[in-house]
């Protein structure tokens, strides 16, 4: 029986990688609890409130997007709609071509939406030079790697890995000190900010009522990427809209606390317009790309609530499977519990349905989710769909068990043979795979059916 892909990947991981992931996820989980408890009298009711606002957004998505578009346009932000990733890449490459010469540097701030559409690949193919400016994403880029966590892209690397990469790229004298490594990156990336004609960012929240694009971050690379270059392109999943500015504080508290255990992120950049004539700096053009890429279809299915997600990564940090396997095991830009639902929801059960089995169904993800997404319920349903579609299989012993458990006469026959099976000294079929690290229960007393038939 071949192991499922996520487990097979995890078995090949270096111990140092597992250690890095486990240390970082445990730390983030602890910080999250401490901060949310301090921020909210009742974190549960705050999460419930946020979920209710998101449900309103999903129900009124069409209206809110049109309101956002109208308000952005009125301040001079140009709005583009992209039905899929091909369309989004075409729009973004088109803006770059109209404004910048071949080979021009595109300063990129961290954005999962641009990871989702593989924007860097398309920019490079069109002759541009995208430079990731978030420290973690920069390291991912120079290593030709992919991010393994929504918030902490290099959670799988340690300082020694990074030191070797920086030495190879000749960023400065060899060092393993995080402060010195960070300063080498700062010096190197400064030139990109100064020379970039175009900056690309994601959007965390877009306020329909005013047309304000809100981006949160800690490093300042996002502000630099969206301030210094002449053109700012913001790429946003259509579900990121919020109705009112007054909704921002709750979501800002929840995302900072849930993602990194901070009470507030270092920067909350609220972009309202391109540089106005009375303002000394800022981009001359701001473009907003509204990305659908399968989201509108998810809206009408059983996984609708996954669109409440604010990409905090708390479910990844708490998930016992993610902690053991790392994000790369999932083989998708979205990993962990959120990825196990979002990847098949966006890309189909055939391509990604096997991820539904990369879960212990312990329920921790739902417990920590700042917008109360019922991830375990969705994972169970996805397992069923994946099984029916033939992309997730049960191992042979479980298939036998499932057949017996759904066929009463077989079950009865099996029960009769059970004492015989127990007396046979051959290895138990459940003693490999699932049962490898589990103790099987011992049978005691009579069968339930016999007891039921004889009851007084």
């Amino acid at each position: 029986m071949p192991r499922p892909p996520v487990e097979a990947f995890a078995r090949k991981l270096a111990q140092s990688t597992t250690d890095s992931v486990r240390r970082a996820t445990t730390g983030a989980s602890n910080a999250r609890v401490a901060t949310l408890d301090r921020t909210f009298k009742d974190p549960g009711s705050a999460r419930h409130h946020a979920a209710a606002i998101k449900d309103y957004v999903l129900d009124h998505l069409g209206e809110l997007l049109q309101q956002l578009e109208a308000n952005c346009t009125s301040h001079g932000i140009r709005v583009h709609w992209a039905v899929d990733s091909a369309s989004a890449n075409e729009i973004i490459v088109g803006i770059c071509r109209s404004a910048a010469p071949d080979g021009a540097i595109v300063a990129k701030a961290k954005s999962m939406a641009t990871e989702e559409i593989h924007l860097n690949h398309h920019l490079e193919a069109a002759g541009f030079t995208p430079v990731e400016t978030d420290l973690g994403e920069f390291i991912v880029q120079i290593d030709h790697d992919t991010p393994s966590h929504i918030v902490a892209p290099i959670i799988h690397k340690n300082r020694f890995d990074i030191a070797k990469s920086f030495e190879r790229e000749k960023l400065g004298p060899y060092t393993e000190v995080p402060e010195e490594l960070a300063m080498q990156a700062r010096g190197h990336l400064r030139e990109s900010f100064k020379s970039a004609t175009i900056g690309v960012s994601g959007v965390n929240f877009a306020v329909a009522e005013t047309g304000r694009l809100v981006i949160v971050e800690n490093e300042g690379n996002n502000r630099l990427s969206t301030t210094a270059p002449r053109i700012h392109i913001a790429v946003m999943g259509i579900e990121k809209v919020l109705p009112r500015e007054a909704d921002l504080p709750l979501f800002l508290r929840l995302i900072a606390g849930s993602a990194t255990g901070q009470r507030a992120t270092t920067y909350m950049h609220g972009v309202l317009a391109p540089r106005r004539s009375d303002e000394p700096d800022g981009p001359d053009e701001v473009h907003l790309v509204l990305l659908d890429n399968g989201r509108s279809a998810v809206l009408h299915g059983d996984y609708r609530e996954i669109l409440r997600c604010i990409r905090c990564g708390a479910c990844q940090n708490t998930c016992p499977v993610y902690r053991q396997t790392s994000g790369h095991a999932y083989g998708h830009v979205y990993s962990g519990p959120i990825g196990a639902v979002l990847a098949p929801a966006l890309e189909g059960i055939t391509a990604m349905g096997h991820l539904a089995k990369s879960s212990s169904l312990c329920g921790a993800c739902e417990e920590v989710c700042p917008v109360q997404i019922p991830i375990p319920r969705m994972l169970l349903q996805l397992r069923d769909e994946a099984f029916r579609a033939g992309v997730a299989r049960d191992s042979a012993p479980w298939s036998v068990y499932a057949f017996g458990a759904t066929h009463p006469s077989t079950w009865r026959a099996g029960l009769k043979m059970l004492p015989l099976a127990e007396a046979t000294p051959v290895p138990h079929p459940l003693k490999s795979g699932w049962g490898e690290f589990r103790e099987l229960p011992h049978r005691r007393g009579r069968h339930f059916r016999a007891w039921w038939a004889d009851r007084p």
Binding site: S20, A24, G27, A50, Y56, D59, H60, L65, Q66, W81, V83, S87, T133, L135, G136, P153, R159, I162, P178, A182, M183, A185, T210, N218, E219, G220, N221, R223, T227, P243, R244, E245, A246, D247, L248, P249, L250, R253, Q262, R263, A264, T266, Y267, M268, H269, G270, V271, L272, A273, R275, D278, E279, P280, D281, G282, L290, D292, A297, L299, H300
Partner: protein, 177 residues
């Protein structure tokens, strides 16, 4: 059909789910200025008096045009924000709950002044310390704005917090009456 029409037609209309009122936010007890100062410290920033500026004599400074001239005495002015040692700006408001500052773009106000130099000083009027982010969002002007909570930081390398990765390493707040 355009992408816009396609997306909107798949999304369709609403079923009338009601919008909850905004989350009320916490209520703060005690003196706002004390809370502001202690939160600022927690973030790794500092509340300073005008005397501290003497430490910076000789530093090259990029200042917004609405910063009061007397504060800039003894400093070397530069027009190149990228090479400045220090950026000085006004802050519109402080937020006591989280030790944050609200800065708005506008005439004479450079977005890069609080961002590109390794040291940022924000000048804030004592009378403009609000209690919470909820109060700050209420007075958010119709301009691009940023809420700053402490110095620039990253924890990307093994979770070790490093300050000043892209933005300022040091943040000072100077209160005025």
């Amino acid at each position: 059909m355009s992408d816009r029409e396609r997306i909107l037609s798949v999304i369709g209309g609403s079923t009338g789910v009601a919008l909850p009122s905004p989350w009320p936010g916490p209520s703060l007890e005690g003196a706002l200025e004390n809370r502001f100062e202690s939160e600022l410290k927690t973030l790794g920033a500092e509340l300073v008096t005008a005397d501290r500026l003497k430490e910076l004599a000789g530093a090259s400074v990029f200042a917004d045009s609405d910063v009061p001239e007397p504060l800039l005495r003894g400093l070397v002015r530069t027009e190149d924000v990228w090479s400045a040692d220090l950026g000085i700006t006004l802050a519109d408001y402080g937020i006591a709950d989280t030790g944050s500052l609200l800065l708005t773009a506008g005439p004479g106000r450079n977005r890069l002044a609080s961002l590109a130099p390794p040291h940022h000083i924000a000048v804030l009027s004592r009378t403009r310390i609000l209690d919470t982010a909820e109060a700050a969002i209420e007075v958010l002007p119709s301009r691009t704005a940023v809420i700053v909570s402490g110095p620039s930081r990253t924890a990307d390398i093994e979770g070790v917090i490093v300050r000043g990765i892209h933005g300022p390493r040091r943040l000072w707040v100077l209160l005025t009456d």
